[in-house]
Symmetry: C2
Subunit: 500 residues, 2 copies
């Protein structure tokens, strides 16, 4: 994973002909920043190219084909599962220059954007029309909408509004042969197979998205945010269950544990009660009267479960402050340990309390520190395993703890990923939820888009079937933690069938 091969001068010159000198990166020292993303894995690209249009992306794919090079599309590089790490010495196509808002149709509530647009910028640009773009990953100030498509990103407000795929109407994509095509449309409905749906969440393995038609939503008339502190995680978990059982779907329902409180206190000084073991954020929105009624219900339930302190926010400034600790939590983990590994699993809401207790046990057994901050409302947990990457034993324990937590989620009837994708991180766990038939059906879909018969492959490329983002998603493509000396033999999730 760490061997470096630099691009040939003929490849560099072909790429330069398309985008110009200043948009091809090939010197080893300049390539360093493209080895990483937000995960713990890394690998060096042979070159990075920054196109300015869909047509340039199409030309670059054709050039890479001729040179037998793999391709990895990259947005802001915030992936938490290794999605943007360029395995197999790929050519990275960085889409950060494609940031245009191409069209806004306010009446029909549709926008067409380029993939390099930063998530939050879209909502800012349409705010004066009374509209917003719903998916709001914690990294929304940095991450790109193209990257969100790749990973089918979620966010705190996806509880009520759905994840990225629910807001994408159509996609322009560059396919393996460099051709440009359009899937879906700008209407809610379109005809033919739902290839739009298959692309969203395909983690860059089927093609490169170059334009995106998204649905915009009208901003709610009223938003009311509440923050409640509890003396136990169980009390907070019960509060979550009761809110949902009351038939409400709050626009957000987020939880932080004591370790997370410890991490955010020195940063943001929120002054949460010293005995608080959990903090819950609940947000309701809609028409004024409806919000008032829902607020009353939420406060009742919090109080009944022994909330020690409740804070409320009605206006944007107070709300931003109330959300600050939640949105900044992951960054604040740096106060506790040099590195974190943010696990991402989903459990049925009814199993939340039980799985959180298991996460605690796993932390104790393996002697790792785990901090919890997560989307409680839809059972999407995010245990952050905190460790020091310079201590190989700590790294191994962290990865092992991650595996055990994901196993616990699956055993509880949950899923491997809520919103971070499979990437490098979770591919070894795919057999926990998919049997060979399932994986083969997925592989057939990839083959349908990419082709894979050996006679199709240009010289020097073992299989065209991995043309885009090679080594990701499917088991056996790469080893999670290899950069830290982990090998495929170091461990494997228990309970899996025979696989590599």
């Amino acid at each position: 994973m760490s061997s470096k091969t630099l691009a040939s001068s003929s490849l560099i010159s072909d790429l330069t002909n398309v985008v110009g000198d200043q948009y091809v990166v090939w010197k080893p020292e300049d390539l360093l920043v493209y080895e990483y993303d937000g995960s713990i894995d890394k690998a060096p690209p042979q070159a990075v190219v920054l196109p300015s249009s869909a047509e340039e992306v199409s030309q670059i794919v054709k050039i890479a084909n001729r040179h037998g090079a793999y391709i990895v599309a990259r947005g802001a590089g915030t992936s938490l599962s290794g999605g943007a790490v360029p395995l197999r010495n790929s050519v990275v196509i960085a889409l950060t220059r494609l940031t245009n808002l191409i069209e806004v149709d306010a009446v029909n509530r549709v926008a067409i954007v380029e993939p390099g647009m930063i998530n939050l910028h879209l909502s800012q640009k349409v705010s004066h029309l009374g509209l917003f773009y719903a998916p709001d990953p914690a990294s929304q100030k940095t991450c790109t909408i193209g990257g969100n498509i790749g990973e089918n990103a979620g966010g705190p407000h996806c509880l009520a509004l759905g994840v990225t795929t629910n807001h994408v109407l159509g996609l322009e994509v560059v396919l393996a042969d460099g051709s440009l095509t359009w899937f879906g449309g700008t209407q809610r409905e379109s005809s033919g197979y739902d290839l739009r749906g298959a692309f969203v969440g395909s983690e860059g393995t089927l093609g490169i998205v170059t334009k995106i038609a998204v649905r915009l939503l009208p901003k709610p008339e009223t938003i009311h945010s509440m923050l409640a502190a509890f003396t136990t995680m169980d009390a907070a978990s019960d509060t979550v269950s009761e809110i949902i059982a009351a038939g409400m779907v709050p626009s957000a329902l987020e939880m932080m544990d004591r370790n997370t409180i410890d991490a955010v206190e020195p940063f943001y000084h929120p002054g949460y009660p010293a005995e608080a073991q959990a903090v819950l954020i609940v947000e309701v929105d809609g028409l004024k009267e409806s919000v008032e009624e829902q607020t009353e219900t939420v406060l009742d339930i919090c109080n009944r479960n022994g909330a020690m302190e409740i804070r409320e926010a009605d206006d944007e400034e107070t709300r931003d402050k109330l959300w600050q600790t939640r949105k900044g939590a992951i960054g604040a983990y740096g106060t506790i340990a040099p590195t974190y590994y943010l696990v991402d699993g989903v459990v049925p809401r009814t199993k939340l309390r039980e799985v959180l207790q298991q996460v605690d046990q796993i932390a104790v057994e393996l002697d790792v520190t785990v901090a919890n901050v997560f989307h409680a409302g839809d059972g999407n947990i995010h245990p952050a395993i905190l460790f020091n990457e310079r201590n190989p034993e700590e790294v191994k324990q962290a990865i092992l703890a991650g595996a055990k937590i994901l196993e616990a989620c699956v055993a509880a009837g949950g899923a491997l990923s809520g919103e971070h994708g499979i990437g490098i991180e979770k591919q070894a766990y795919m057999p926990l939820v998919f049997n060979e038939d399932d994986l083969e059906a997925m592989s057939r879909l990839r083959t349908a888009f990419i082709g894979e018969s050996p006679e199709d492959a240009p010289i020097g490329v073992p299989s065209l079937g991995e043309r885009f983002n090679p080594g990701k998603v499917f088991p056996g493509g790469a080893v999670h933690g290899e950069a830290y000396g982990i090998t495929a033999e170091s461990f494997r999730p228990t309970g899996t069938q025979d696989w590599q």
Copy 2:
């Protein structure tokens, strides 16, 4: 399309071994009812088999493979685009015995059902838990959830809640080789490619769905329905635009025109004003206070646009009566003409008024009667062209009018289908919205699931690529109206590229 070949006795005997004598239909007179669905097309199957389990479906597919027979899955046969018409002398697998509610998880709001369950039955079965299943096609008392998956069915309440694909979490399917696999899960999120999404709306061409995990929603606390009559269609259209522009998303927003009023009067005697040219149904739901506020806004807008009469309903009985004319409209067209062809197109909401005027012009030009009843809120129009199927000239004019209406929808930036699918009816129009690259990408997806290389095909079958529901969706598969003497040369949509 109309040549009849009966099944061989060895095929019948193989099928009988799986399901028993009484569940294999092969006598010509018994097969007659399986030639039709809700569209104007028809074709005879060679046999019909009614399995009682997913395992039996799997065995039947393997038997059909051995005998080189095509396969068409059938639910209630209510398809309006010819989805259930068995072209190529297919073996029909009727799923009407698979009606079980396998599991309900009320807390996590998930149900697992068999494909033959009637849509409305699911909501009835979970009603005591305070839950319901959202997609509600007009045919919901008859149509099956399996058929809804095939066509990605919508309904009046899909404006606020989304169509079938938004409510399906996972699918068990029988693939082309007869193997059983599962796509998606019971969580909102799952890992890997979204093959669940690709299956929903694939019109039976990729496999046969045998189990379905669906999301259930909590029933709203309050529902308020309003019906308003207007002197012009324009006034009703403006009312729709203003309601949406006010930032509301009513749970339903439906329109009927004068011809539809004429059709429903003798059936249901609603006593709408004699001068009414349009009737609008608006429904809002949610918490009591929010419903009151929305009701006030809707009534204001209706009055401002000159509503002649407004009726309201708060309880279930009054609401059912208010909805009766809308839900029974299509059936009532029988009072005006022997046959109807229900067109299904989508236009941007802003173009609704303009496209409705074009529909009027097309009706005048081609001398056909068109009645309109449709989902105004999301721009999904359903002009019903009324004709006498015994008059070949009328049939031709009806089909031509349908083509022109669909062209007008596409020209206005809309889509070919809102909820009825492509089937036989619209395949010739696919090139209006898809270029060759798009169609090829779709064809690759089908190939990924079915296989198509000639050496894979059993003797007597030209291409495995059409194993399931042959001749549907893709251009050139069949001729819409062939049963009435229409040929591929009779007409073709103007403005299309060269295609067959």
